[in-house]
Symmetry: C2
Subunit: 469 residues, 2 copies
């Protein structure tokens, strides 16, 4: 887990600012949930592998002592106790499960359709990699309460707008549907109880390759013939057509092909799933530029709670995804009596930042930010109050002003101003104080001007404007 020094924070806040403003422009409202959840809220929601990666918080006080005594009671070589003996709380693992809990618990306070965004950190006890950290921010957007593909279209349009505003031009949003995958699995001769494990294996296609997935499927008891048959559909149907301008042709051809050649697939929701994909493609294409949405039948997504559409954003120079999402019509029902349809998208802040950093995509005012517009020096212990007063007056005129924190030699103060990169320096000597003036130094041009106190802010703002031209 990492510290973020000021230059890092400014970049993070720039990206978060754009994400928030786009989500807000789509009518999504902010939600925040606590970092710590009851452990039973999280367990059993993310699949076997996810369960292992949840950070668990130790019980406290007398409760902990009781559990320790219970373990000691077992003597040497105990059956290891279940984790809920020792932990009662856990760190948030994603933002979707907490959302489902909030919706189930606050049904009467929330509108019929709850459109929310949430930008908060989550924690996973995973091995770190490029753009993957143990603490990372998710930027989620979800619509609760509707099963219509309008929802998928809106969240796709919102995240596309965000990436465009950040300066991404080359992203693709791949979409697939869990019931289409189920149809293909069944068609390949794989039994429904194995579907979930088969998708977990397929999700690793990028990492381990075709034969790697076959071998993982074999270890799950799926015979090679079925495994190959399933994978061949998927990979054949997903041969990358990388140029975005061709995606429209690809999608149309794909839909025609799977409708014709797979019409004998019996799995009940297969054809309904295809219609959903078709709808999404239609609703997200404004016909005015690149088509971003690509049907990709090899897309699986790792999380076990998805029930319908699944989605993922990729760019060519990052192995993982910039974000992903899908429909999870069964999750809210796990926390309440009612099944409520839901669908959303999650952008990975760190993934976006890694690519933006490598491509140099930050605007100059973010990349070269300064802590203040002006530094006021302190001439002597006797003039501190005057310097603080000047700083306060300049702040009242919308300048960001830092004060050197003690009386010190002139050259030390100047050196510090250079080090932190403030563009202007205001000196206030005894003489200045008596004559009601300030010595303004432009740190870039090295110009010095003695200015009446009431004109200082104006002088600085004027120079800034000249420099901007």
């Amino acid at each position: 887990m990492r510290d973020f020094l000021p230059a890092d924070v400014r970049k993070r806040e720039y990206v978060i600012g754009i994400i928030k403003s786009v989500y807000e422009s789509y009518g999504f409202e902010p939600l925040e949930t606590p970092a710590v959840e009851n452990i039973e809220t999280l367990t059993g929601k993310y699949g076997e592998e996810g369960n292992q990666l949840i950070y668990k918080i130790l019980k406290r006080g007398e409760k902990l002592n009781q559990e320790l005594a219970r373990i000691a009671d077992q003597g040497r070589k105990p059956e290891f106790p279940p984790l809920d003996w020792l932990a009662d709380l856990a760190l948030r693992y994603d933002l979707t499960v907490p959302l489902a809990r909030v919706v189930a618990n606050n049904k009467n306070e929330l509108p019929k359709f709850f459109k929310r965004y949430q930008i908060q950190p989550v924690w996973r006890a995973d091995r770190p990699a490029r753009g993957r950290f143990r603490e990372f921010y998710q930027c989620d957007v979800d619509v609760i309460g509707s099963g219509s593909m309008v929802v998928e279209a809106e969240v796709i349009l919102a995240v596309s707008k965000i990436l465009e505003q950040l300066g991404f031009e080359d992203f693709t949003i791949r979409i697939n549907h869990r019931t289409v995958l189920s149809g293909l699995l069944e068609h390949a001769g794989i039994e429904p109880p194995k579907f979930s494990e088969a998708l977990t294996a397929l999700d690793k296609l990028d990492k381990v390759g075709f034969e790697g997935v076959v071998s993982e499927l074999r270890s799950k008891g799926i015979n090679d013939h079925s495994a190959r048959r399933f994978l061949e559909f998927n990979t054949m149907l997903s041969d990358a057509i990388a140029v975005p301008a061709n995606i429209r042709i690809w999608n149309a051809a794909m839909i025609n092909y799977v409708k014709k050649d797979f019409q004998h697939i019996l799995f009940p929701q297969y054809h309904e799933g295809l219609r959903c994909l078709e709808d999404i493609v239609k609703l997200t294409d404004r016909n005015d530029g690149n088509c971003r949405v690509k049907i990709d039948l090899s897309l699986a997504r790792g999380l076990s709670y998805y029930t319908g559409t699944i989605m993922e954003i990729n760019v060519t120079d990052l192995a993982g995804s910039l974000g992903g999402g899908g429909r999870y019509d069964g999750l809210i029902g796990m926390f309440g009596k009612e099944q409520i349809p839901a669908c959303g998208f999650s952008l990975g802040l760190e993934r976006i930042l890694v690519v933006m950093e490598e491509r140099g995509m930050f605007p100059p005012e973010i990349a070269d930010s300064t802590p203040a517009d002006v530094m006021v020096t302190i001439f002597s212990d006797e003039t501190v109050a005057d310097s603080l007063m000047l700083a306060s007056d300049l702040r009242a005129q919308n300048l960001r002003v830092t004060v050197y924190p003690q009386a010190d030699k002139n050259d030390k103060q100047f050196k510090y101003a250079s080090q932190i990169g403030v563009p202007f320096l205001c000196d206030l000597t005894d003489e200045n104080i008596q004559s009601g003036t300030v010595l303004v130094k432009n740190m870039t041009t090295r110009e010095k001007t003695t200015v009446p106190r009431e004109k200082v802010a104006e002088t600085i703002l004027k120079s800034v404007r000249v420099a901007d031209k």
Copy 2:
């Protein structure tokens, strides 16, 4: 720990926005640290009681299994193992200790004086009370690298400006100094090894009263005579003069009194501490309104890392404080080779929010926020794409636009729009689509106007402006 629904988040963000902008205007830069710290970073920094309140994270995998076997090995009724057998990580308890760690670890990357702010949650396994939660946000501002009272003055001025901008008019910032307290303790006949426990007891004066503190001091082995002598100084010297306009007179009288009557105090830094308090009073008083800073020799502060100035903000209608801070010149040295002076202030977001909520201090646009300016309805499954396109066009003209998430009956869509409180509705029927118009409904006045598509945003913005007048 609590969920924050949209109306809550907007209030929180309003307050955080003001805090950030004031800190920035003072030249402070943002820092962020991870929620999870190594457990040894936190233990031993907050005193005995603090240690108990740290949330600890369970070890994982093989390491955890080894420790469990070790506990089981002890058999029934074991000596309970030290916590570091089971936990290797812990949740952030405050923002000061992580700052000290960051400064010690990044000395070469940080400027000579590091002025940072940090607004992040912290966690304490404490009993919740009014304005006190297990997860809460601290809004910290600190200056690293200078021992000058300019620092104390700047952080006091910054937090005062924040409270004023939020609309607080009645707060007082009480200040004291740890070496002044040490002088008074010694003068009362209390031995230096007992100083820390004596201050922990004094910190509870508000809660348990004079006799409660005497009895706690007794339990720490301090005799009643010394205890009473110490407390009498403090309480006598701190008889509240509640009216802010009188604080200037109070401070002057106080300084004169303690200088004269306690000049025989031998504790070496007592008089230096008094000079610091005097300086702070002088540097923070602009003589242009209320004086906020009040010397209060009964102020102790609970945390053990303070070495000099201690500060606390109070308002009359909250038992606890809105924030507090102080100087901790020894803390950074615990993480590195070098002792670096440091001082800062921490505002408690939840405390501020509780008081603002009770007093109704939020501006109307925050208190009555709406999720969007306009809702676009969906007439039928066939017109979804047109509705999405209209929404997209309106967003491009800086309106926040939500789309009803599915085709539905007219009255249901209208009802939903009322429920979420959007001020305008845009209907797009087949007829509208053909004629290139939109039916704009003002939800407040119930007016309906058919408007050419390209005039919709203009019409809405005009009505908003009229309504604002």
